[in-house]
């Protein structure tokens, strides 16, 4: 995204729209700081500019296009075999059965909410989780960025790209839930230079119950009282 300075009348109306504060006043111009902009498209879509001075490139070159793939929900993702910001995860689990009762899904979202992240932070998380022996979700845009599945190394040319958020999704054995939480949370707190939102996916038993809640409570691990629940209606 960029601002055409010949059209901009410096009203500053667009500035508060940017979730990462990339729209700034510089000397006598209003500019989008290219290194900070995550290409989320919000300033453009909001239609705020009276002179249509906010412009989108016809084609964003690689590797910068990765920013849009991870940050713009209105983006299609054909260009580098990346298919969306996250997977369908539990939302269609009644069709895919991707999560079973003996597994737990982890969703580790870097940069959310509203801080953003460089992809080198994502690499740290992928490398950490790889060293712990996890399986990564293949239909997630993070997966094609991994060039070495034995180390969790990402494509080097994308590492400095900034995105609004990037989600590492992986599954672990149900019995390993607590050990993963107790190793990963201190890692996020001490090693990651952005915010990290963590959520779990748990398949219910036939009575609609999961033992995860009790296990978290017993171990004094806080969780939100609200969350998402798939009702299993696709197969009824």
């Amino acid at each position: 995204m960029f601002i055409d300075s010949t059209l901009c009348e410096r009203c500053m109306d667009c500035r508060p729209l940017c979730p990462v504060g990339a729209i700034r006043a510089r000397k006598k111009e209003v500019v989008i700081v290219q290194d900070e902009c995550v290409e989320c498209g919000t300033c453009f879509r909001y239609n705020i500019c009276p002179n249509s001075a906010i412009k989108q490139l016809d084609e964003i070159p690689y590797p910068r296009i990765v920013r849009a793939h991870f940050s713009d929900p209105a983006m299609t993702h054909e260009s580098i075999d990346v298919c969306g910001r996250g997977t369908e995860e539990m939302k269609t689990n009644d069709v895919t059965h991707s999560y079973t009762e003996d597994q737990i899904g982890f969703s580790v979202e870097l940069g959310r909410p509203g801080v953003g992240t460089r992809l080198y932070e994502l690499e740290k998380v992928v490398q950490k989780a790889t060293s712990m022996g996890v399986d990564f979700a293949e239909d997630n845009p993070v997966y094609p960025l991994i060039i070495d599945h034995s180390t969790g190394k990402l494509r080097p040319e994308v590492l400095n790209e900034k995105v609004l958020s990037a989600i590492a999704e992986f599954t672990v054995k149900r019995s390993e839930l607590l050990s993963f939480i107790s190793e990963l949370i201190p890692f996020f707190n001490n090693q990651i230079e952005t915010v990290v939102t963590v959520s779990l996916i748990a398949r219910c038993d036939k009575n609609g119950r999961v033992s995860v809640f009790e296990e978290l409570e017993r171990n004094r691990i806080a969780f939100y009282p609200n969350g998402k629940v798939n009702l299993g209606l696709a197969n009824i």
């Binding site: 979730p19 509203g114 609004l164 958020s165 959520s199 939100y224 197969n235």
Partner: protein
């Protein structure tokens, strides 16, 4: 999409009636379920959601129906359990073979399931935010910005709207419309956002 499990400011004491409804076609079934998702859109719209996918972009309700097969998903927000119980009942009668996810207090979902004689299938539970949490804005601002799962509602926009409402240049109602606009999935809850704006502008 949605990431609504990470919404903040929802507790058993406040904002406890909000229910986000998400109906999703598995991507491999998009073509075969085109008519089914249109029907689902009709049903969801007929229960007058507070907000729905596409509406913040100015897409009219009848066009949302036509676009729904390409979205592959319908997301909407409601503010009372009774409506969602009736909505679910109609969805079940139509047997559309589309996944339905509710996002709310787990206790609300349990009650709705109980009344519909359903059992939950899969949970998505948030453990919260870790790492450099000092970079986050205040809790009131977060209770607005986290309504957009893609984090497209900027804290600076919240501050601007609150300033304008305080000065009397904008109503809380119009402010809520402006704050819902960046969220393309249409899951920013207008009613709740208006209430939070009034609280922030009055405080």
């Amino acid at each position: 999409m949605t990431h609504s499990q990470n919404r903040t400011g929802i507790s058993h004491d406040s904002d406890n009636n909000e229910i986000v409804v998400l109906c999703m076609v598995h991507f491999k079934q998009k073509a075969e379920k085109a008519e089914a998702i249109k029907k689902m859109t009709d049903i969801v719209l007929s229960y007058s959601p507070d907000n729905i996918i596409g509406r913040p972009l100015g897409i009219k309700d009848e066009d949302i129906r036509e676009l729904s097969p390409s979205f592959g998903i319908i997301t909407a927000v409601f503010n009372d359990k009774e409506t969602v119980v009736k909505l679910l009942s109609e969805i079940r009668e139509n047997n559309l073979g589309i996944s339905v996810v509710l996002s709310s207090l787990f206790a609300n979902v349990r009650e709705i399931c109980h009344r519909q004689n359903l059992t939950e299938h899969t949970f998505n539970i948030s453990l919260g935010v870790f790492g450099q949490t000092e970079k986050l804005p205040d809790d009131d601002t977060l209770s607005i910005t986290t309504q957009c799962g893609h984090a497209l509602v900027a804290p600076a926009l919240v501050r601007k709207i609150i300033r304008q409402v305080k000065k009397g240049d904008l109503t809380s109602d119009d402010g809520a419309v402006l704050l819902a606009k960046p969220c393309v999935c249409g899951i920013v809850n207008h009613t709740r956002t208006k209430r939070i704006i009034e609280h922030m502008a009055g405080g």
